[in-house]
């Protein structure tokens, strides 16, 4: 049975085995490796170099990348807000009517419009509609008698709110363009498909067309011109006017009137407006309460 050097029972033989050239070489290599690593850190450099070579394939994870993600998320959110605002501003700048303005500024969006632009939009409105939105005299006061310098438009679910502001953002006056008002501004919406019975506001105030026009023609010319502000709406040949309804709410300076027409395209009601005082005179004649 062979006995290995390390199995030797004699210490001399064991030492001799231990100090063989091969073992000494191994020890020297190990010592050189250890000392050189200690002194030169080549192991660290090797690992560092290896990791650097695989850097681009590794994921962007960890605190610093999460911070960058959060920054990206935040900036993207802010961009959404500013883009939305820019869009509203662009639409507002291009708007040539309040209808375009209201449809361009969506709920949650807001923008400023200039005083000149507001004036242009206002002057483009038919007189009664403009006066209902804001009386001209009040607008003159706002533009000339106050320190109003900004007009702020904000889209709301119910339509568009317009604020007249001082340099300190104090609201001097607010007007609301409801969806109904906007629809009314829209020429296409001055016609209602149906009859006066379908419109509750005209309940009990409808007069036969003959009676209406007879009473109308008895009014003085200066009253007549103020009775129907936009008679041209009634001129297109849409059918025969059978009845006329007068909006009972007369708190505003203008009164809404509806002309019921029966024609080839079915029944419809065409809306127009009259000055309050002129319509009052007409109603007196219609109801026989004329002085």
């Amino acid at each position: 049975m062979m006995t290995h050097w390390h199995e030797s029972t004699h210490i001399e033989r064991w030492f001799r085995g231990m100090l063989s050239p091969l073992h000494l070489l191994m020890v020297v290599i190990l010592v050189i490796t250890g000392v050189s690593e200690w002194q030169m850190s080549w192991c660290e450099h090797l690992v560092g170099a290896y990791l650097a070579s695989s850097n681009d394939k590794r994921p962007e994870i960890g605190t610093v990348w999460e911070t960058e993600d959060r920054t990206t998320t935040a900036q993207s959110y802010l961009k959404t807000i500013t883009d939305s605002r820019k869009e509203a501003t662009r639409y507002a700048k291009e708007a040539s009517s309040f209808i375009q303005l209201a449809s361009g500024i969506l709920p949650g969006q807001w923008t400023h419009i200039s005083r000149t632009h507001f004036k242009q939009l206002y002057l483009a409105l038919p007189e009664p509609t403009a006066a209902e939105l804001i009386p001209p005299l009040e607008l003159v006061w706002l533009f000339n008698g106050t320190d109003m310098n900004k007009i702020f438009c904000e889209g709301k679910s119910h339509g568009l709110d317009i604020y007249f502001l001082t340099p300190e953002n104090r609201v001097i006056r607010q007007i609301s363009l409801s969806r109904a008002t906007v629809a009314e501004l829209d020429q296409d919406n001055t016609v209602f498909k149906g009859t006066l019975e379908d419109i509750h506001d005209f309940a009990g105030t409808a007069y036969p067309a003959n009676q209406f026009f007879k009473a109308t023609l008895t009014l003085p010319p200066e009253t007549l011109s103020e009775l129907i502000i936009r008679p041209e709406r009634l001129l297109p040949d849409r059918g025969k006017i059978s009845r006329v309804g007068i909006w009972p709410d007369q708190t505003s300076a203008y009164v809404q009137m509806g002309f019921e027409v029966h024609g080839p395209r079915g029944n419809m009601v065409i809306f127009t407006k009259g000055r309050n005082w002129a319509v009052k005179q007409l109603i007196q004649r219609l109801t026989g309460r004329a002085q």
């Binding site: 450099h45 560092g48 605190t63």
Partner: protein, 658 residues
């Protein structure tokens, strides 16, 4: 002998095998772990560039910067700081390759010998790797990954780049990240100008920013600085003599920072509101610019007033410095014309207690509720300040089946008196009668439209008087009286812009007319009398001569002391009490209620010192008459006390309440 040799031999080969296995395992972990490591950004400085959110006062001063990192080149950092941080954190930084072997072996030994304890041996590079990519949870795996990344950082970047990234991102506490920010926060100067003493103090903070926070633990921070300086001596950066000299210096901290850091009561409220509106990412990483309503001069006045007043109260109550609980305080000042919150203190000191009493603490306002009752009665029953009532101990029917036994708590006089005198002297019996005649619901409605939003009791008039509201609500609702009946919701933000200056929010000031101007003026006139001659006459005694109105309020059990008052432009509410309601026993002056009045006076005097005094505007329909305080009739020969009463058209004199 043979056995010994055999044993040594076996041990040698086992060691060799174990070493080999360990090496293999290490290589496996390196190759396997490499895939799990985060990617390193290029250049390293990119990690420092985070957009900063800046918050400004309405008066233009910058209040705070959130998420701000101000990277500065090493050449613009005091060499004292560089030496100090190297000495205390990693003195072999320039020699190692990301790993300090000696320290690692020592740490390994401690970790193995003392189970449950993980000894840190991180080099600056390892700390950088940890701060940039890992959580603060200590695990072996995390430390291994941190080590690997440190090796990569060392291989990829120069020592200067690593040190630059490190000093520009380490946390120093108090919201300061990076040495430039820390130097500005703690010493109000750039990092280039740090003295040796200041630099050493800063270099000691990163080890435990909250433990060594010099604003809270100045002595601890100095002890830590001592360690840093000794390390600098040991490393040869300093001579012993110079070190001794520096140790004698006590760096002065920047005072302004104490209330401008994240966490002043005002900023707390503001940031919470911003987060609710835009989310945390936008607030801390979006780089937005926020203009608040805060007036820094008024805020300074509020802080000074609160400190001085509460110190005086402590002496009066015989409270020691370390005693607990101690009475707390809240102060809110609101611009009556817009609702802008101009100053706010939610307690004595944010660092002592972060609970914001001005916004979140609902406390019994006592007779501070009287103006709403008087307004409701005057509006509904057409009574006025000259209407006569009898102050006496009475029972008042509140509603079917309920009777209130009413008596004066404040020692107010009994007998006939006009309403103006009753409010001036805060007479409970008269108020209770008015309440009974007016109806709880009507009073509640008035309080609501004026700005009280806290739930109100409607069971009986005592329940009503015992309404629990916040100081902010009180200041805002009294502002409605000050502005002639126009209510503005209180707010904190004027404008928010993104980093490019695009406005993403702006506040519109829109008042809502909620009270009748003439009746409001009649109530304000009575509240002016409270300040001139009544329960708050200390305002005048202390020299505040501007037109002012207000009402004191004390909880029936003496737990809460209030004074809410206003000039035409500014409404301020002051509350004093314990967080857990308990009677405030002051054996000597000042008591809590007089202190609330004094603090209001001191604050308003300072806050308005540069504004011209102006009177309350008087509606055109108001006329004035002088009446006897007991009869409500024009004064006769026997009149001893008279009042001037504002009257609306058609209001009769010499009349009892109908």
């Amino acid at each position: 002998m043979a056995r010994l040799i055999k044993w040594i031999s076996t041990l040698f080969y086992m060691g060799l095998t174990a070493g080999g296995c360990a090496m293999l395992l290490l290589f496996f972990f390196i190759f396997y772990g490499a895939e799990q490591l985060p990617r390193l950004p290029h250049p390293l400085a990119r990690i420092i560039e985070t957009p900063k959110t800046q918050i400004y006062a309405a008066t233009g001063e910058k209040l705070i910067t959130l998420g701000k990192k101000e990277p500065v080149p090493l050449s613009r950092i005091s060499p004292h700081f560089i030496n100090a941080i190297l000495a205390v954190e990693d003195h072999r930084f320039m020699e190692h390759s990301g790993l300090s072997k000696l320290r690692t072996l020592k740490a390994l030994y401690i970790t193995l010998v003392q189970p449950g304890r993980i000894q840190g041996a991180s080099t600056i590079t390892q700390q950088l790797a940890k701060n940039l990519f890992f959580s603060f949870k200590q695990t072996y795996l995390r430390k291994f990954k941190e080590l690997l990344l440190a090796l990569q950082i060392e291989h990829t970047f120069s020592k200067e780049e690593i040190l630059h990234a490190y000093v520009n991102q380490i946390a120093f506490g108090a919201g300061a990240q990076g040495v430039e920010r820390a130097a500005r926060v703690f010493f109000g100067k750039p990092a280039a100008d740090l003295t040796l003493g200041e630099a050493a103090l800063l270099a000691g903070l990163p080890q435990s920013p909250s433990r060594y926070n010099p604003y809270r633990h100045y002595d601890r921070a100095l002890k830590r600085r001592e360690v840093v300086i000794h390390r600098m001596v040991a490393m040869g950066y300093l001579t012993r003599e110079k070190a001794d000299q520096v140790l004698q210096e006590k760096p002065t901290l920047a005072a302004r920072h104490a209330d401008a850091r994240t966490g002043s009561y005002f900023l707390d409220t503001l940031i919470t509101q911003l987060i609710q509106e835009y989310g945390k990412d936008v607030v801390f990483h979006g780089g937005i610019r926020v203009t608040t309503t805060l007036n820094t001069a008024m805020q300074r006045a509020a802080r000074t007033t609160v400190k001085k007043g509460m110190d005086e109260l402590d002496i009066s109550l015989g409270i020691n410095k370390n005693e607990k609980p101690i009475p707390q305080v809240a102060l809110v000042a609101i611009d009556t014309g817009s609702g802008a919150v101009k100053a706010l203190m939610g307690g004595r000191n944010y660092y002592g207690s972060e609970f914001n009493r001005a916004i979140s603490s609902k406390r019994r306002v006592g007779s501070g509720f009287m103006p709403f009752i008087y307004y409701a009665a005057m509006k509904q029953q057409n009574v006025h300040g000259g209407t006569v009532m009898t102050s006496q101990r009475i029972t008042v029917p509140i509603k079917e089946g309920q009777i209130l036994s009413s008596e004066n708590r404040t020692g107010a006089p009994h007998g006939n008196m006009i309403l103006k005198q009753a409010l001036t002297l805060s007479v409970d019996t008269v108020t209770d009668q008015l309440m009974a005649k007016t109806g709880v619901k009507n009073v509640m409605d008035i309080a609501r439209i004026c700005g009280i939003s806290s739930p109100l009791e409607s069971a009986d008039s005592r329940g009503m008087i015992a309404a629990q509201v916040t100081p902010k609500e009180m200041a805002a609702s009294y502002a409605t009286f000050a502005s002639g009946g126009v209510h503005h919701d209180p707010f904190f933000i004027w404008r928010v812009e993104d980093a490019q200056g695009h406005v993403i929010y702006e506040h519109l000031v829109q008042g809502k007319k909620v009270l009748d101007a003439a009746t409001t003026f009649q109530v304000v006139d009575m509240m002016q009398s409270v300040v001139d001659n009544g329960t708050a006459k200390k305002v005048r005694q202390e020299g505040f001569s501007r037109p002012a109105a207000g009402k004191t309020g004390t909880d029936p059990h003496g737990c809460d002391a209030w004074f809410t008052g206003f000039t035409p432009g500014l409404s301020t509410s002051v509350w004093i009490g314990y967080d857990t309601p308990q009677k405030i026993n002051a054996p000597s002056k000042p008591t809590a209620d007089t202190m609330a009045v004094s603090m209001w006076t001191a604050f308003m005097s300072e806050a308005l010192k540069d504004d011209p005094a102006r009177p309350f505007s008087i509606p055109d329909t108001i006329s004035f008459k002088t009446v006897d305080a007991r009869t409500g009739c024009p004064p006769g020969t026997g009149s001893t006390s008279t009042f001037t009463i504002p009257l609306k058209p058609g209001q009769p004199l010499c009349g009892d309440i109908p």
